[in-house]
């Protein structure tokens, strides 16, 4: 990790640690906007920190460690889109965002179509939509990215409470929403490229969040095992439990290496199609790992982990939801395999005897 990333990590961790696990959403949101965390990927030319996707993932990892409720992840995606839009409007939007105005977006399915210059359809998994003025959405045909004003006619939001208590998701329904009243961020080919990039970023960010969550969960568990005495020995002395912790540690470190390795190789090359497929691999690996770690860690906590007041379950529930957001593991695995099959046509074929 570079010195700059380490700095970013340390300063983020201090804030998140001070706020505590699953801290209040609006307080953390105010704090992070004030601290300028939304600027992390924004180019220096636009007044940002230009710390790139690596910088953003470093921060998502820290927010994941604290099971942050604040909608940093969708806001960062929306910001990425805005930075890629036409200059004239861009600065206005950036100003609004840096002032703390939340623009959210869809973490699950977005299914929209345009006819007669009106938008119809719906989006699921829109985080904290009730606190946002706008939502960034896109069409099925991939030729339009639009910022929809949530307060305008034809737009309805419905809370969809999840078992995960640390994120608040909404469905957004659009019924004959006139396009002219909303802001088009990109169209045509540039929309297509932007939508692909947003999907990849969403995967990387969710992966980073999962890695952070798994780290805290394992640390908490080891702490518990060190403290808890049974048959006059700390549980941490029992080899069967030690070995499970070692396996979990290895998976967490592997996910982290995989994420940052992908980013190092692809950072300057966000529109490379390999970016998308790499992102899917990382997202699948990291969120599956998070669920496995959380599942076993809850078991290692014993009865106390089953109590609502202990934070264990918050990790497990966040992990389960993250596995489903953006795209399920089964679908992603299939994507990865088909990509390999497609690219194994003649490649290396002389190799197999």
């Amino acid at each position: 990790m570079s010195f700059e990333l380490k700095e970013l990590q340390d300063s983020t961790r201090r804030v998140i640690d001070a706020a505590g696990i699953a801290a209040d959403e609006s307080e953390l949101w105010s704090q992070l906007t004030e601290l300028g965390w939304l600027m992390v990927t924004v180019p220096e030319s636009l007044g940002g920190l230009e710390a790139g996707v690596q910088g953003a993932c470093t921060m998502h990892c820290e927010l994941g460690r604290g099971l942050a409720r604040a909608p940093y992840l969708p806001a960062m995606l929306a910001l990425d889109a805005i930075c890629g839009s036409e200059q004239s409007e861009r600065d206005t939007w950036l100003e609004q965002v840096f002032a703390g105005g939340l623009i959210t977006t869809c973490l699950a399915e977005c299914s929209l179509h345009v006819s007669d210059s009106r938008l119809d359809g719906s989006a699921t998994g829109v985080q904290s939509a009730d606190s946002a003025q706008h939502v960034l959405l896109w069409t099925d045909s991939n030729d339009l990215v639009v910022l929809v004003d949530l307060r305008k006619p034809g737009v309805a939001i419905t809370a969809k409470p999840t078992w995960d208590l640390t994120r608040r998701l909404f469905d957004v329904e659009l019924d004959q929403v006139p396009l002219s009243e909303h802001h088009i961020v990109a169209e045509g080919e540039s929309a297509r490229v932007m939508i692909q990039r947003l999907a990849a970023l969403r995967d990387f960010y969710l992966a980073a969040d999962a890695i952070g969550g798994a780290q805290t969960m394992l640390e908490m568990t080891i702490e518990h095992l060190q403290t808890r005495v049974q048959f006059k020995r700390p549980l941490a002395l029992f080899q069967a439990l030690k070995h499970r912790c070692a396996d979990m540690k290895a998976s967490i470190v592997a996910a982290e290496a995989m994420l940052f390795d992908a980013l190092r190789r692809l950072e300057g090359d966000l529109d490379n199609p390999q970016f998308g497929i790499k992102a899917r691999g990382v997202k699948m690996f990291a969120t599956t790992m998070f669920t496995q770690v959380a599942e076993d860690c809850l078991q290692l906590h014993g009865g106390i982990g089953m109590a609502d007041e202990h934070p264990c379950h918050l990790f497990l529930k966040r992990a389960l939801l993250s596995e489903q957001l953006s795209g399920s593991g089964a679908a992603y695995a299939s994507n990865l395999a088909l990509d390999l099959i497609e690219n194994s046509g003649n490649l290396q074929s002389g190799k197999c005897a």
Binding site: W163, G302, D308
Partner: protein
């Protein structure tokens, strides 16, 4: 009539009775319902079942419904599972733990005082576990001091199922610290309305509060409510814990088998009925469920034949706990994002409610409570496979890691 025919006749009789008596729509009715309504529903079902004699087949001859063989009891449990009747979780401790302990170790006076009450619907809870004692009963610390003809109790119990509704409690306390830890335990029967008793339900990660903590502040229990001798509590507790004799897992594995179509229904709802990947996972699960059923069945057969070996029970419980987790986990995968939306919980149901994330959380009750998977693995490896225990002398001074 041969034994086999008698058993088959009982099966038909129970099946017919259940068909006309299991409350219809109880699952819907018990979803997201307040505790009070749940308690009322449990009581109604208890009255029906016990009046028919099917709640107490394990009680001795002479009691309503009593005097049934273990094989007959098994049939009743199997049919209850098959009929998807509500589980009588509120009365389980009374009907099994309390009753069997009284039959086996109680005085005539105690039996007279308590057993009729159980048939009339008194609710019992168990006061064994304590914070930080985990699976290590010998380390219990809730203290009872003898003062004249009474014990005075101070301390705390935890993970007591439905203690907030209980009329009585089976209580294991420490009366002596001087000898080996197991020898200092004493077994008491406590009226939950006694002064100094307070109960705090533990809010669970499912949103339910099936368990509670019980606090004791100078609580007095008469010496005549002691079961067994002072210091004999460990042995009495073993009788309590052995009382269900494998029947619960016969019921639960059967219920799991009957619940498999729920997964198919979820597949249909989520449009993955024809997904070969789900088929493979489902096929593997079906085999595991089948194996779990066979294990529970075989275990009960062994008990019936008097062939039980040490470790047998651990294998059944460990395998069931793992399979139950897999069942719920497959439900979660099939459910996809839908299964992550909060769907509330269903009270007094089986482990499989079709609210998959709820079921997933609930499945931990079987891998943690009643001897965790880890404890079962210790028992299997040491007492069944003959692998050495770590010598007891291998200890650390407390607090030093």
């Amino acid at each position: 009539m041969t034994t086999e025919n008698r058993i088959e006749a009982l099966r038909q009789e129970v099946r017919a009775w259940l068909e006309s008596n299991v409350p219809t729509g109880w699952r819907e009715a018990m979803t997201n319902v307040e505790q009070d309504a749940f308690v009322a529903a449990q009581r109604d079902w208890f009255v029906k079942l016990s009046t028919a004699g099917y709640a107490t087949p394990h009680w001795p001859q002479g009691w309503l419904g009593g005097g049934r063989s273990l094989a007959e009891q098994k049939v009743i449990f199997e049919e209850v599972a098959r009929a998807d009747a509500p589980r009588l979780i509120l009365y389980f401790v009374a009907l099994y733990h309390a009753a069997c302990t009284l039959f086996e170790c109680g005085t005539d006076q105690q039996r007279e005082k308590y057993l009729d009450g159980i048939l009339q619907g008194k609710i019992w809870c168990q006061g064994f576990s304590e914070p930080n004692a985990g699976s290590d009963l010998a380390s219990l610390r809730t203290k009872a001091e003898r003062r004249g003809d009474r014990y005075v109790i101070n301390g705390q119990k935890i993970w007591s199922t439905m203690a907030q509704y209980a009329d009585y409690c089976l209580l294991l306390v420490r009366t002596d610290n001087s000898g080996p830890p197991q020898a200092g335990l004493t077994y008491l029967l406590l009226d939950m309305k006694t002064k100094g008793v307070s109960v705090r339900p533990i809010s669970q990660i499912t949103g339910d509060d099936e368990f509670a903590e019980i606090f004791f502040d100078d609580v007095e229990v008469a010496v005549e409510d002691r079961v067994g001798e002072e210091g004999a509590g460990w042995a009495v507790a073993q009788a309590t814990l052995a009382s269900e004799r494998g029947l619960t897992l016969v019921e639960l594995t059967q219920r799991m088998r009957y619940a498999l179509p729920m997964l198919v229904q979820s597949m249909r709802q989520n449009g993955c009925e024809h997904d070969p990947v789900v088929h493979r996972d489902l096929g593997k699960l079906i085999a595991n469920v089948d194996a779990a059923c066979a294990l529970a069945d075989q275990y009960l057969m062994k008990r019936i034949m008097g062939d039980e070996q040490v470790g047998d029970a651990s294998i059944v419980k460990l395998f069931y706990a793992k399979t139950l987790r897999e069942f719920a986990a497959l439900g979660v995968r099939i459910g996809g994002l839908q299964a992550q939306y909060y769907s509330g919980f269903m009270r007094g149901a089986t482990q499989e409610t079709g609210h998959w994330t709820l079921d997933f959380m609930n499945s931990y009750n079987w891998s943690i409570a009643g001897g965790s998977n880890e404890v079962q693995r210790n028992i299997i490896s040491e007492r069944m496979l003959g692998m050495p225990r770590e010598p007891k002398s291998w200890q650390l001074a407390e607090g030093k890691a």
